[in-house]
């Protein structure tokens, strides 16, 4: 009997742990619609008081330098940097927790463009359309696109990113001009690697081809899925054939960014789809001097495209000091600061002119190509249910590529799942 009692107690406690580990938290309030709060350029004119800036980990010290420059230039205001974790999912979780609790702690939010639609729908962001209007033309068009939802701007483009084609100059003679050439080269000379694991990265890799081929994941009004299209079928069949005929090895099914970078650097492939960060690392690897990078290619006779990444700065609707928050976001997106940031972090700036600065050209010899890559790219679908859209894409594309599911049924399923997500109230 004694044994029974203690075992029951242990079981109960362990079972409780199962639930508490999974338990989520949320807050339900009763208002509806966006925040209805707007900021104009005038609001930023007289920065004063304390604010905080919540953004991913400051690995290069560049964010701290921005804060210092702003504080020095504005003696009445004081910005505090709050570093969030390195992983994007964790950053979002940390921000959402605070926003659900209506916390004013993060006055300036460093957000991935794919979170923005959700934040806007929940009324968590200030509308900055007016504040941004006079400066819009200074930014690369696609970066403004990534800060736009339902015709308005909700953030100031801070840094950006776009995919590149890395190729071995000793194995591939010239940079391929189309994806068809990429796969043909890969089949003949040592293969192509990309981010083919079942995660966000695969969504990006698939959309890059889909956008180039002229397809879209959801309609422009964001109301229905458009992924069961002839373009998507062409692209997925093309990718599937690449796997079948050996242009892409099965190993790619486990690759995220770092795995593909390591494989390329170890000479396991002659072509790689990768972000620009791998360029500097490649210069320190065994393939130093044997590779080049090029903007992503076109699709048959269609022009090149891509998918935009990066971070934008938004103002928390619960901020007690939104004017200063806006002033800070404006400050760090001026040419001087953008050049400093780009040179220090090697993250692509959002201002077009920053790419011409000698300091930027020096750390990023491919700066001109980078600007082209960003210019030709487009954001991922802007929708409050983006996580479900992306999941529907990467899970079904994964099954079509690696688990023998047919293109038609994979895309139909993805389309149904996206529509289901969009139907949610």
């Amino acid at each position: 009997m004694k044994l029974r009692g203690s075992v029951a107690a242990i079981a109960a406690v362990a079972a409780l742990a199962a639930l508490t580990a999974c338990g989520g938290s949320s807050n339900s309030s009763s208002s509806t619609g966006g925040s209805g709060k707007t900021l104009s350029a005038d609001d930023a004119k007289n920065p004063k008081g304390n604010i905080s800036w919540c953004i991913g980990k400051d690995t290069t010290g560049a964010f701290a330098a921005m804060v210092k420059q702003f504080n020095d230039a504005n003696p009445n205001a004081k910005v505090k940097l709050i570093e969030l974790p390195t992983s994007a999912d964790q950053q979002r979780a940390q921000q959402v927790q605070r926003l659900r609790a209506k916390s004013s702690e993060c006055d300036v939010l460093g957000i991935d463009p794919i979170w923005m639609a959700e934040y806007v729908s929940q009324g968590w962001l200030y509308d900055v359309t007016d504040a941004l209007s006079s400066r819009k033309s200074q930014f690369i068009g696609s970066t403004i696109e990534s800060a736009t939802y339902q015709g308005k701007q909700w953030a100031i483009p801070f840094n950006t990113n776009a995919g590149f084609l890395y190729y071995r100059t000793d194995k591939v003679n010239t940079a391929p001009k189309t994806w068809q050439d990429v796969y043909a080269d890969a089949k003949q000379n040592g293969g192509l690697v990309y981010q083919g694991a079942s995660y966000e990265g695969l969504t990006v890799n698939f959309l890059e081809l889909l956008y180039t081929a002229g397809g879209k994941a959801i309609s422009d009004d964001g109301k229905k899925a458009t992924i069961d299209s002839p373009e998507a079928k062409q692209v997925l069949t093309f990718m599937q054939n690449g796997v079948k005929d050996g242009a892409v090895s099965h190993s790619v099914s486990t690759y995220m960014e770092e795995e593909s970078r390591r494989a390329f650097e170890a000479g396991k492939a002659s072509l790689e789809r990768q972000w620009p960060y791998a360029y500097a690392l490649g210069q320190k690897s065994p393939i130093k001097g044997k590779f080049q990078i090029e903007t992503l290619p076109g699709w048959k006779d269609k022009p090149a495209s891509g998918v935009i990444g990066g971070y934008n700065l938004a103002v928390n609707a619960y901020s007690k000091n939104p004017g200063t928050a806006l002033a800070f976001a404006e400050f760090v997106t001026q040419p001087k600061q953008q050049e400093y940031m780009a040179a220090k972090t090697t993250l692509p700036p959002t201002l077009s002119e920053a790419y011409d600065a000698p300091a930027v050209q020096k750390v990023m010899p491919f700066a001109d190509k980078l600007r082209t890559a960003v210019e030709q790219a487009h954001p991922r679908p802007l929708s409050p249910v983006y996580p479900q859209i992306s999941e529907a894409i990467y899970k079904n594309v994964y099954n079509a590529l690696w688990n023998g599911v047919s293109v038609d049924s994979a895309l139909k399923k993805a389309n149904d799942q996206i529509n289901q997500a969009l139907k949610q109230f």
Partner: protein, 312 residues
């Protein structure tokens, strides 16, 4: 749990102050309060959330939906995902806990022998258990990297089969790696629990058996196993309930691809990644209910058998 209270010796009345029973209740109350606060409240809250639907589009909009989230998970739109995860979780649990029991018992028996360096061995064996599961998972992920990983490099160098298998990229193999990583990490824990059980078995029972001419196998079967049964049961419950909740391994190794999405991972993806609070909470409540049910089954059936065995 009520049965535990019944076994308490009836308190004798004291001449003054609180009765022993009252005193006991008073002294446990802070702990009970804390458990209520940190465990019962979140559970009740999760159940409450699971009975609602929360809007992803409109701010703060939510509606009471009764058991709709449960029907969605069990036989509605999401039933395929739920039952696949359910099956995956049980396959993982059954195989990994089975292997851990056999290996753990073998390790415990070996460590129980008196020999030089026993202390060092016991400490060494526990190293895998001391490493965080996430770190373990990252390590195995690197080892099973298809091109550059240690496993395939070794297999190829030794001309053994499997050197070109994409371990984490194929169903079956991916599950095998997950089980392997779990067994590697937790078999030592099983061994430790069983070793503790072994050490309370008095030596003279064995001596008596030897005098009576019992073989090694008979001593193991008739003495060790029955007397170890309570420890085995506790170890099994611990491991089973842990395995049913497995999250870190598939999260790191495969992100749930190739048939490795477990119940906890499914719940986490729905709740945290996709932000579907109602359905996600329903999934975690279902996971909780599953774990609870399994533990009661354990105590009812396995527990009963082992006691019968022990009383033999």
């Amino acid at each position: 749990m009520a049965t535990a209270a019944e076994t308490v010796v009836r308190p004798r009345r004291r001449r003054s102050g609180l009765s022993e029973r009252r005193l006991a209740a008073l002294m446990i109350s802070p702990a009970v309060l804390i458990i209520l606060l940190v465990a019962a409240y979140p559970i009740a809250y999760a159940i409450w959330l699971s009975l609602h639907q929360y809007s992803l589009i409109h701010k703060g909009l939510s509606r009471w939906s009764g058991f709709e989230n449960y029907s969605t998970a069990l036989w509605g739109d999401q039933h395929q995902a739920f039952w696949t995860a359910f099956k995956t979780t049980f396959i993982f649990t059954f195989i990994s806990v089975g292997l851990e029991l056999v290996l753990g018992l073998a390790m415990a028996l070996a460590m129980h022998q008196a020999f030089r360096g026993r202390g060092v061995l016991r400490a060494t064996v526990l190293v895998p258990w001391a490493i965080l599961t996430v770190v373990t998972a990252m390590t195995w992920k690197t080892i099973f990297d298809p091109d550059l990983g240690f496993a395939n490099t070794m297999l190829r160098a030794l001309h053994l089969p499997g050197g070109h298998v994409v371990w984490l990229g194929e169903s079956g193999y991916a599950m095998a790696v997950m089980i392997f990583a779990d067994v590697w990490k937790t078999a030592p824990f099983m061994a430790l629990l069983l070793l503790a059980g072994l050490q309370v078995i008095p030596e003279d029972v064995y001596d008596a058996a030897k005098v009576d001419g019992a073989t090694t196998w008979q001593r193991f079967r008739r003495i060790t196993l029955p007397l170890l049964a309570p420890a085995i049961l506790v170890a099994l419950i611990f491991r089973t309930l842990d395995a049913l909740r497995v999250f870190d391994l598939p999260y790191v190794l495969t992100q749930g691809a190739n048939g490795t999405t477990t119940l906890s991972l499914e719940a986490q993806q729905t709740l945290v990644n996709n932000g579907i609070i109602g359905l996600g909470s329903a999934l975690s409540v279902l996971t909780f209910a599953t774990v609870m049910l399994v533990s009661f089954l354990y105590i009812r059936f396995v527990g009963g058998n082992i006691r019968a065995l022990a009383e033999d």
